[in-house]
Protein backbone atom coordinates (compact mmCIF):
# COMPACT_ATOMS: atom_id res chain seq x y z
CA UNK A 1 0.00 0.00 0.00
CA UNK A 2 1.41 3.40 -0.92
CA UNK A 3 1.81 6.41 1.34
CA UNK A 4 -1.04 8.37 -0.24
CA UNK A 5 -3.47 5.54 0.40
CA UNK A 6 -2.28 5.30 4.01
CA UNK A 7 -2.75 9.06 4.47
CA UNK A 8 -6.21 8.93 2.94
CA UNK A 9 -7.17 5.98 5.10
CA UNK A 10 -6.05 7.76 8.26
CA UNK A 11 -8.07 10.90 7.46
CA UNK A 12 -11.21 8.85 6.80
CA UNK A 13 -10.73 6.68 9.89
CA UNK A 14 -10.21 9.73 12.12
CA UNK A 15 -13.40 11.42 10.90
CA UNK A 16 -15.69 8.41 10.62
CA UNK A 17 -14.34 6.29 13.50
CA UNK A 18 -14.55 3.33 11.11
CA UNK A 19 -11.74 0.90 12.07
CA UNK A 20 -8.82 1.08 9.63
CA UNK A 21 -9.12 -2.66 8.87
CA UNK A 22 -12.61 -2.10 7.48
CA UNK A 23 -11.35 0.55 5.06
CA UNK A 24 -10.60 -1.81 2.22
CA UNK A 25 -9.95 -0.25 -1.20
CA UNK A 26 -13.33 -1.13 -2.66
CA UNK A 27 -15.60 -0.81 0.39
CA UNK A 28 -18.45 1.57 -0.47
CA UNK A 29 -18.47 4.49 1.99
CA UNK A 30 -22.24 4.71 2.08
CA UNK A 31 -23.45 1.12 1.64
CA UNK A 32 -20.67 -0.82 3.40
CA UNK A 33 -19.29 1.62 5.95
CA UNK A 34 -22.41 3.56 6.93
CA UNK A 35 -20.89 6.96 6.20
CA UNK A 36 -23.63 9.59 5.93
CA UNK A 37 -23.68 12.89 4.03
CA UNK A 38 -22.44 14.88 7.05
CA UNK A 39 -19.41 12.63 7.50
CA UNK A 40 -18.88 12.76 3.74
CA UNK A 41 -18.65 16.55 3.69
CA UNK A 42 -16.25 16.46 6.64
CA UNK A 43 -14.06 14.09 4.64
CA UNK A 44 -14.26 16.33 1.58
CA UNK A 45 -13.34 19.42 3.64
CA UNK A 46 -10.42 17.56 5.25
CA UNK A 47 -9.09 16.45 1.85
CA UNK A 48 -9.40 19.93 0.40
CA UNK A 49 -7.40 21.32 3.32
CA UNK A 50 -4.78 18.58 3.37
CA UNK A 51 -4.09 18.49 -0.36
CA UNK A 52 -4.97 22.10 -1.17
CA UNK A 53 -7.48 21.07 -3.79
CA UNK A 54 -11.08 21.90 -4.60
CA UNK A 55 -13.42 18.96 -4.98
CA UNK A 56 -16.38 20.14 -7.08
CA UNK A 57 -19.80 19.38 -5.63
CA UNK A 58 -20.80 17.42 -8.72
CA UNK A 59 -17.93 14.97 -8.16
CA UNK A 60 -18.75 14.16 -4.53
CA UNK A 61 -21.48 11.54 -5.19
CA UNK A 62 -19.09 9.65 -7.49
CA UNK A 63 -16.30 9.28 -4.92
CA UNK A 64 -17.51 6.26 -3.00
CA UNK A 65 -14.48 4.12 -2.18
CA UNK A 66 -11.00 4.47 -0.75
CA UNK A 67 -9.54 3.55 -4.13
CA UNK A 68 -11.59 6.22 -5.90
CA UNK A 69 -10.73 9.00 -3.45
CA UNK A 70 -7.03 8.11 -3.46
CA UNK A 71 -6.95 8.28 -7.25
CA UNK A 72 -8.97 11.48 -7.18
CA UNK A 73 -6.55 13.28 -4.86
CA UNK A 74 -3.62 12.23 -7.07
CA UNK A 75 -5.11 13.66 -10.22
CA UNK A 76 -6.60 16.92 -9.08
CA UNK A 77 -4.63 20.08 -9.64
CA UNK A 78 -3.83 22.27 -6.70
CA UNK A 79 -5.91 25.44 -6.35
Amino acid sequence: MNNREEEVKKIIADITEVPVEKLTPDADFFKDLGIDSLKAIEIVAAFEKKYRIIIPEKDIPNIRTLKQITEYTKHLKKD
Binding site: L38, A40, I41, V44
Partner: protein, 146 residues
Protein backbone atom coordinates in the same frame (compact mmCIF):
# COMPACT_ATOMS: atom_id res chain seq x y z
CA UNK B 1 -24.53 44.55 2.27
CA UNK B 2 -26.58 44.82 5.48
CA UNK B 3 -29.65 42.93 6.55
CA UNK B 4 -32.16 44.02 9.15
CA UNK B 5 -34.11 41.65 11.37
CA UNK B 6 -37.04 41.34 8.96
CA UNK B 7 -34.74 40.19 6.17
CA UNK B 8 -33.05 37.76 8.57
CA UNK B 9 -36.46 36.36 9.55
CA UNK B 10 -37.29 35.78 5.90
CA UNK B 11 -34.52 33.16 5.81
CA UNK B 12 -34.13 31.88 9.38
CA UNK B 13 -36.97 29.78 10.80
CA UNK B 14 -36.07 30.94 14.33
CA UNK B 15 -38.16 33.47 16.21
CA UNK B 16 -37.95 35.33 19.52
CA UNK B 17 -36.87 34.38 22.09
CA UNK B 18 -34.69 31.97 20.14
CA UNK B 19 -33.52 34.30 17.38
CA UNK B 20 -29.95 35.21 18.23
CA UNK B 21 -28.91 37.60 15.48
CA UNK B 22 -30.13 41.17 15.19
CA UNK B 23 -28.50 42.26 11.95
CA UNK B 24 -26.13 41.09 9.26
CA UNK B 25 -23.37 43.67 8.84
CA UNK B 26 -21.18 42.16 6.14
CA UNK B 27 -21.46 39.58 3.37
CA UNK B 28 -18.27 38.83 1.44
CA UNK B 29 -19.39 36.93 -1.64
CA UNK B 30 -20.02 33.32 -0.69
CA UNK B 31 -17.02 33.21 1.62
CA UNK B 32 -18.02 35.06 4.76
CA UNK B 33 -21.02 36.44 6.65
CA UNK B 34 -20.76 38.67 9.71
CA UNK B 35 -23.75 39.22 12.00
CA UNK B 36 -24.40 41.00 15.30
CA UNK B 37 -26.36 40.14 18.41
CA UNK B 38 -26.78 43.00 20.87
CA UNK B 39 -26.83 41.45 24.32
CA UNK B 40 -29.53 43.30 26.25
CA UNK B 41 -29.62 43.65 30.01
CA UNK B 42 -33.03 41.95 30.11
CA UNK B 43 -32.33 38.85 28.00
CA UNK B 44 -34.52 36.05 29.35
CA UNK B 45 -31.61 33.66 29.77
CA UNK B 46 -29.93 36.01 32.24
CA UNK B 47 -32.72 35.33 34.74
CA UNK B 48 -31.25 31.92 35.44
CA UNK B 49 -27.70 32.18 34.10
CA UNK B 50 -26.92 33.33 36.72
CA UNK B 51 -29.02 35.17 39.34
CA UNK B 52 -27.01 38.24 40.29
CA UNK B 53 -24.20 37.41 37.87
CA UNK B 54 -25.35 37.56 34.25
CA UNK B 55 -23.27 35.61 31.73
CA UNK B 56 -24.45 34.55 28.27
CA UNK B 57 -24.53 30.73 28.12
CA UNK B 58 -21.89 29.28 25.81
CA UNK B 59 -24.48 27.10 24.07
CA UNK B 60 -26.31 30.26 23.02
CA UNK B 61 -23.12 31.73 21.54
CA UNK B 62 -22.92 28.48 19.56
CA UNK B 63 -26.56 28.93 18.53
CA UNK B 64 -25.88 32.52 17.39
CA UNK B 65 -22.94 31.34 15.28
CA UNK B 66 -25.04 28.50 13.85
CA UNK B 67 -27.83 30.92 12.90
CA UNK B 68 -25.26 33.11 11.16
CA UNK B 69 -24.08 29.98 9.34
CA UNK B 70 -27.59 29.59 7.92
CA UNK B 71 -27.29 33.06 6.38
CA UNK B 72 -23.96 31.95 4.91
CA UNK B 73 -25.73 28.88 3.50
CA UNK B 74 -28.36 31.19 2.01
CA UNK B 75 -25.78 33.29 0.15
CA UNK B 76 -24.23 30.09 -1.23
CA UNK B 77 -27.45 28.26 -2.04
CA UNK B 78 -30.21 30.87 -2.33
CA UNK B 79 -32.57 28.76 -4.40
CA UNK B 80 -32.59 25.94 -1.84
CA UNK B 81 -32.68 28.31 1.16
CA UNK B 82 -35.73 30.08 -0.28
CA UNK B 83 -37.65 26.80 -0.05
CA UNK B 84 -37.17 26.93 3.75
CA UNK B 85 -35.49 23.57 4.27
CA UNK B 86 -34.84 22.09 7.71
CA UNK B 87 -31.45 23.02 9.14
CA UNK B 88 -29.77 20.94 11.79
CA UNK B 89 -26.41 20.74 13.53
CA UNK B 90 -24.46 17.58 12.81
CA UNK B 91 -21.30 18.29 14.76
CA UNK B 92 -19.78 21.15 16.72
CA UNK B 93 -16.23 21.65 17.90
CA UNK B 94 -16.00 24.72 20.10
CA UNK B 95 -13.68 26.62 22.35
CA UNK B 96 -14.84 29.30 24.80
CA UNK B 97 -12.32 31.97 25.67
CA UNK B 98 -14.09 34.79 27.46
CA UNK B 99 -17.51 35.51 29.04
CA UNK B 100 -20.16 37.58 27.25
CA UNK B 101 -21.92 40.09 29.48
CA UNK B 102 -25.06 42.28 29.33
CA UNK B 103 -24.69 45.38 27.17
CA UNK B 104 -22.04 43.88 24.92
CA UNK B 105 -22.23 43.65 21.14
CA UNK B 106 -21.54 40.08 20.06
CA UNK B 107 -20.04 39.90 16.57
CA UNK B 108 -20.42 36.58 14.77
CA UNK B 109 -18.14 35.79 11.85
CA UNK B 110 -18.73 32.68 9.75
CA UNK B 111 -16.37 31.42 7.06
CA UNK B 112 -17.30 28.98 4.29
CA UNK B 113 -15.07 25.90 4.49
CA UNK B 114 -17.28 23.77 2.22
CA UNK B 115 -20.96 24.16 1.45
CA UNK B 116 -22.93 21.85 -0.81
CA UNK B 117 -26.68 21.43 -1.35
CA UNK B 118 -27.36 19.15 1.61
CA UNK B 119 -24.53 19.93 4.03
CA UNK B 120 -21.93 22.46 5.06
CA UNK B 121 -18.71 22.87 7.02
CA UNK B 122 -18.30 26.32 8.55
CA UNK B 123 -15.64 27.93 10.75
CA UNK B 124 -16.89 30.62 13.12
CA UNK B 125 -15.52 33.20 15.50
CA UNK B 126 -17.54 35.15 18.06
CA UNK B 127 -16.01 38.34 19.40
CA UNK B 128 -16.78 41.45 21.38
CA UNK B 129 -14.75 44.24 19.83
CA UNK B 130 -11.33 42.69 19.29
CA UNK B 131 -11.78 40.19 22.12
CA UNK B 132 -12.44 36.69 20.76
CA UNK B 133 -14.96 35.01 23.03
CA UNK B 134 -15.47 31.71 21.19
CA UNK B 135 -14.30 29.74 18.17
CA UNK B 136 -16.17 26.89 16.56
CA UNK B 137 -16.31 24.53 13.61
CA UNK B 138 -19.73 23.34 12.51
CA UNK B 139 -21.01 20.56 10.32
CA UNK B 140 -24.51 21.51 9.22
CA UNK B 141 -27.17 19.37 7.62
CA UNK B 142 -29.88 20.68 5.31
CA UNK B 143 -32.94 18.65 4.43
CA UNK B 144 -35.90 19.57 2.31
CA UNK B 145 -39.05 20.32 4.26
CA UNK B 146 -41.80 17.72 4.01
Amino acid sequence: MKWDKEKIKSILPHREPFLFIDEVIDIDGTEKVVAVKNIKENESFFEGHFPGKSIMPGVLIIEAMAQTSIILYYVCKPEIAKTHPNYYLGKVKAEFLSPVLPGEKLILETINVKIIDEAGVVDAIARVGDRIVAKANFVLGIKKSD
